[in-house]
Symmetry: C2
Amino acid sequence: MDADMAVLDTAEQLFYAHGVHTVGMDDIRDGSGVSLKRMYRSFATKERLVTEVLRRRDVVWRDKLATYVTQATADPTERLFAVFDWLHQWFGEPGFRGCAWINMFGELGGGSPDVVAQARAHKAAFRSYVGDLVAAAGLPPSLADHLSLLAEGAMTTAAISGSSSPAQQALDAARVLIRSAGEAMAP
Amino acid sequence: MDADMAVLDTAEQLFYAHGVHTVGMDDIRDGSGVSLKRMYRSFATKERLVTEVLRRRDVVWRDKLATYVTQATADPTERLFAVFDWLHQWFGEPGFRGCAWINMFGELGGGSPDVVAQARAHKAAFRSYVGDLVAAAGLPPSLADHLSLLAEGAMTTAAISGSSSPAQQALDAARVLIRSAGEAMAP
DNA sequence: TAAGGTAGAGAACGATGGTTCTCCGAGTCA
DNA sequence: TGACTCGGAGAACCATCGTTCTCTACCTTA
């Protein structure tokens, strides 16, 4: 449905920019041009709309990252660096306000098991993707945890500080970790 | 005022556990036993109460960390490790739900410059503290950024995954970074 | 053209929550 | 004791918001 897409687009943008609670269904109607009646036919409740937004965003977000990394370089180790390049680019986008899952976890996590599950799944998928890249580079699995932590830290630090330089700092740290891990494996 | 303390205690606990929006002033009244009238005399608005909670928590949180680190060891480098030990301990506390500033930034950051400022100040103070420890250990300043990112990443990852092991992973990564930085300085 | 069904605009409803007001009891001071 | 002040409990007020309902216009089909 075209209208459903418009609703999801508007909801995602407004939720991300202002948080879930402060955005009313009326705001989403106004932004999308879709009537309340129609919205409620596709999304029975606001909570359902939230989870649909997160579900779609998860696919899109990880696809954008993977596409960028794949096209950036074919070298397995360089691909790990490319993850942080992509973060840097993302942080610099206008309206960047951190990771949507972290934000929604903070806002709704206390009362919404669905949001907790989505956040957990999204973060697990990201870590798993980094794990694939690490394995492809022939590096030890624990490195995936370390690089993921750097990436997560960069996201929140960039959001709160309003700067994209945490991506660069995370990349610097990642270089050290990757080099050390490589030396440890093949000294 | 004793009543003010009770209000702040209750508000902090409820806000942290459930988020700001879902906690009503009535809930804080019920939890603290302080009447609404009295609460509004000390805290003119709910938003003010939120910022007072954050202000007090900032002092307490950083003091707990610094006290732990100071008492853990006198060795400058070991003190850097102690930061992550403390995080591990914190993550394991019952009711742990991540960093209050990150959570509130996610929930209110879009509409509350005060909360943004508090989160920014708190994170800057933490980074600065790590910077002091790094300097005391005679290590390069950029290491402070790297270790801070690991710590931030560990906080959100621990919160979302519901596990305290990210602190251990961050400690592992920190060991590598610190060793590398030490070798680079005095090879 | 007439009947019927669909969809949208917007009002309405019910609940919630921030903030204020009212009323009443208790303590105080002359 | 009596007037006065203070503070608390809780109702009241007002706005917001999720959700539903109504009414009307339009489209379809015979």
